[in-house]
Structures are given as C-alpha cells and as structure tokens.
C-alpha cells in the first residue's frame, strides 16, 4: 500500500491549493448585490423559463450506453495485460465477448438511438 501514500499526499496538496484559491475568491474582492445584478445571465432579459426543466431523453440514453460499454472496457483491461500468455484461447473468448457487444452497438445504432437530428 505504501506506493499509494504519495498519491494521498498529492490529493491533499491539490485539494489544499483548490481550497486556498476558493478562499481567496471568497474573501478578496468587492461584494455588492442588488436584485437586477443577481439575476442569472440571460442576455439582458429577465429569465422567463427556469432551467430546472425536463431535458431530452437522448442524454439519458447516452448515460445508459456509457455504463454498458465502459463495463466492457473494464473487462478488456485485465485481458489485454495478460493477452500474450493466454494465447489463442483468450483471443477467441474475448472476440466472442466483443462480438456480442458489437451486436449490441449495431442494434442501438439501427434503432436510431445515436441519431441527434
């Protein structure tokens, strides 16, 4: 585990830097507020639509595809590391796995889930 200690130090250092910058941002600089200024930016108009609306389902679909295909990628990493030792057996096994997911990709593609027009 000792090799993770430098990572921990690095994370602490990075977090400290970020927090220091945030503190600078909060405490230096003027603070003036009046209602017109505090409105969210809308090109000079008063906002008429709240951003907390429903959004296109396509973004949600992309998130689902991400989960599926990223898990595939995670399975591929350990296989790729020991690929040379596994030889032909590993090759055939993994090509079957990739093939199944490629069929999934083709299905998603043909159903039009990747269209954005």
């Amino acid at each position: 585990m000792s090799e993770y200690i430098p990572v921990l130090i690095m994370i602490l250092l990075a977090a400290t830097t970020s927090i220091a910058i945030l503190l600078i941002a909060t405490f230096i600089g003027p603070k003036k507020s009046f209602p017109e200024k505090m409105q969210p930016f809308e090109c000079g108009e008063t906002p008429i639509v709240s951003p907390k609306l429903r959004f296109s389902v396509k973004f949600y679909l992309i998130a689902l595809f991400f989960v599926i295909f990223d898990i595939e990628a995670v399975f591929l990493y350990p296989w790729a590391v020991i690929f040379k030792e596994l030889g032909m057996f590993g090759f055939v096994e993994m090509m079957l796995f990739i093939g199944v997911l490629a069929v999934g990709l083709i299905y998603v593609w043909k159903r039009g889930a990747l269209e954005w027009e």
């Binding site: 990572v7 690095m10 930016f41 951003p51 998130a63 591929l76 032909m88």
Partner: protein, 356 residues
C-alpha cells in the same frame, strides 16, 4: 525511510511546481500568443514592468492579480455549495492525475534508488482514467447549480460528450496495453527504450484515435460544444467570475499538459531520446563520477520528457486555432459511429498480429 520521504517530497514539489508554477500560468499566454501568430496579429504584448514587455510574458501575472480582486458572483437561486464545489473538482482532479506519469528512468543517487515517478502504481493508466472521468462532475455540477439556461444546456452537453468519449478513449488504449503487456506507466516507458518499439510505430491508429478522444474529453475546440461561445454564451461556466472561472481554465490547461504527458508516455518513447538508452546516458556522463553521472542523466531525461510534452501542447494549441467547431450531432456521430468501431477493429487487428 528518511531518504524515501525526501525523495517523495522532492518529486511532488517538482511536479506540482512545474504544473502550477510554470504550465498553468504560461499556457494562458501561449494560447493568446498562438492565436495572435496564427491570425497575423501582434497579440498579448501590453503588460509591462518598468517598460519591459518581454513579448507579453507579464500577462499571466497581470491576469492573476486582476482575477484575484474580482467579485465572486453567485446568482440568485443557485445552489451555493455545488456552485463552489464544481471548480474545486475540476482543478483538484486535473492536478492529481499527474501523480502516476513517469518523467524519467530509475537511477541511483548516493546509493539510494530513485524512481522518477511520484507514485509507481501498477494500475497507472486506470488511475489516470479514474481521475479524468471525475472531470464531468465539475462540468455537470457547474451547469446544473448555476440556475441558468445556458449553463444547464452546457452541462448536459458536457456530460453526454465526455461520457461518450470516455468509452472510446478506454477502447483506444487497449491496443497499447496489449502490445506492452502492462498497465504500469513506468514499465511502458521502459519498454520503449528501442526507437522502433515506440508506441507510435506499434499503434499508429491508436495514437490518432487517442489524441482525438483526449481533446474531445478536454472539451477543446473543435469539440468545445459545452462552451460554444456563439451559442451558449460561455456554456457551463457562464455564471462564474474571478478566481472560480480561472479554476476551470487552470483545470483545462493542466489537462492539456496531462494529455500531452500521457501521449508522450504511451506513444512517443516517454523520457527516451531516439537510439539512446538510459545506460548509454550514464556511460556518456561517466566523467562526473557515479552520483554525478546519474544526476546528469536524470536532467537529460526530464528535459527530453518536458520537450516532448511542450511539443504536444503546441500541437494541441495549433489544432485549437486551426479547426472550426463541430456541430453536436457530428461530435456524437464521430464518437459512437467512427472512433468506437474503429478502435474495436484496432483491438482485433492488434490481437491477430500479436498471435501471428
């Protein structure tokens, strides 16, 4: 034990210093100067100290002082905690990523083995991806918490785009791992000692795909749909001002550095000069004694690595000022319908070649 501690602290300070003290301020200037050169303008050259302009190199200092005294603006109805958390996530993650990138080989100084990487993790690349994939949280939280329509659209675009390209990026790298048989970035660097074993010769397609995905993941032009000045004002950081805005920018610039470093490590021989091994370097400097020769070799390694990184930063800057912005449907089409299938085919072809 004490020696280990000193070594670790020295390396952390070196990496941290070079990232925060050199790259992140200077890249703002580089970006402006690069655009000026490419657009036939004089460019950033106004800031001066006592009349010295130094081709505009004082602009980062002027900018830093300026943004520090700006007001930190949080609009009405915004979620204050998440509004503050978003730049924190962006910046912290991009600093931490550099912890696993090796910038030199293994040497011996005063009888103490020095390994020129902060954390020699056996899951190096996965660590990079883990922290790179925390970056969408920054963009999405910024967009969602600002209570602004532009920010919200920018955040949605950022999330979908970064998720798509993360998948593609994961696949493009697998060919490299298969060739080198390791996830440890130091091992991958070591194996590229021979010039003809550099990743670019073994995985040319993988290199192009990876660089494309990395730029898309970093939301730079031509993939800067989440920001898209002409459509979304400034995208997900419309409502940010002063230092918080700069934190997003620093995060982006540090990610450029990280991408360049990873590309160098995986595809361009890491810290190696062509045709010169680390042992050759130590022999060449043997006049300086045992410790001295190792030390000089370290300097050459680090300088080589930094030169390569700076080259790729320049390449990314040039791409950024050369290409126009894609449409959103084109970006998603490129990710899912081009890069993903090509990277799967790349894995297949690599596997066949290794077996045969």
């Amino acid at each position: 034990m004490i020696a280990d501690l000193i070594e670790t602290i020295a390396k952390i300070l070196f990496v941290f210093g070079i990232n925060m003290g050199f790259f992140s301020p200077i890249l703002g200037w580089v970006e402006r100067k690069q655009s000026a050169v490419m657009q036939d303008r004089v460019g950033a050259n106004r800031a001066d100290i006592m009349g010295y302009k130094a081709i505009g190199l004082f602009h980062p200092i002027a900018d830093a002082i300026k943004v520090m005294v700006k007001e930190d603006f949080i609009p009405d109805g915004a979620n204050k905690i998440f509004h503050t958390l978003a730049p924190f996530i962006s910046l912290t993650c991009s600093i931490v990523t550099f912890a696993v990138v090796p910038f030199g080989g293994q040497y011996e100084i005063f009888g103490h083995k020095v390994n020129l990487v902060i954390a020699n993790l056996d899951v190096g690349i996965l660590f990079v991806f883990a922290f790179a994939s925390l970056a969408p949280y920054g963009a999405v939280l910024a967009g969602w918490s600002s209570n602004n329509n532009w920010s919200f659209l920018g955040g949605m675009r950022a999330s979908a785009q970064m998720l798509s390209y993360e998948v593609a990026m994961g696949f493009t790298i697998i060919g490299v791992i298969m060739v080198f048989g390791s996830l440890r970035l130091t091992d991958i660097g070591m194996m590229q000692e021979d010039f003809f074993r550099w990743g670019i010769f073994l995985q040319p397609v993988g290199f192009i795909l990876f660089l494309t995905c990395a730029i898309a993941e970093n939301k730079r032009i031509p993939f800067d749909m989440p920001e898209a000045e002409s459509e979304l004002v400034a995208g997900y950081f419309t409502e940010y001002s002063g230092m918080k805005f700069v934190m997003f920018w620093m995060g982006e610039f540090l990610e450029i550095v990280t991408i360049s470093a990873i590309v160098t490590t995986l595809f361009f021989g890491a810290w190696h000069l062509p045709f010169i091994t680390d042992a050759d370097l130590v022999n060449f400097f043997s006049f300086a004694g045992q410790t001295g020769s190792n030390f000089l070799a370290i300097l050459v390694n680090v300088a080589t690595f930094l030169m390569k990184v700076i080259f790729f930063i320049w390449l990314q800057m040039t791409i950024r000022w050369t290409l126009p912005r894609f449409r959103y449907d084109q970006v998603m089409k490129l990710g899912w319908k081009m890069i993903l299938p090509i990277s799967l085919i790349n894995i297949f072809i690599t596997a066949v070649i290794i077996l045969v």
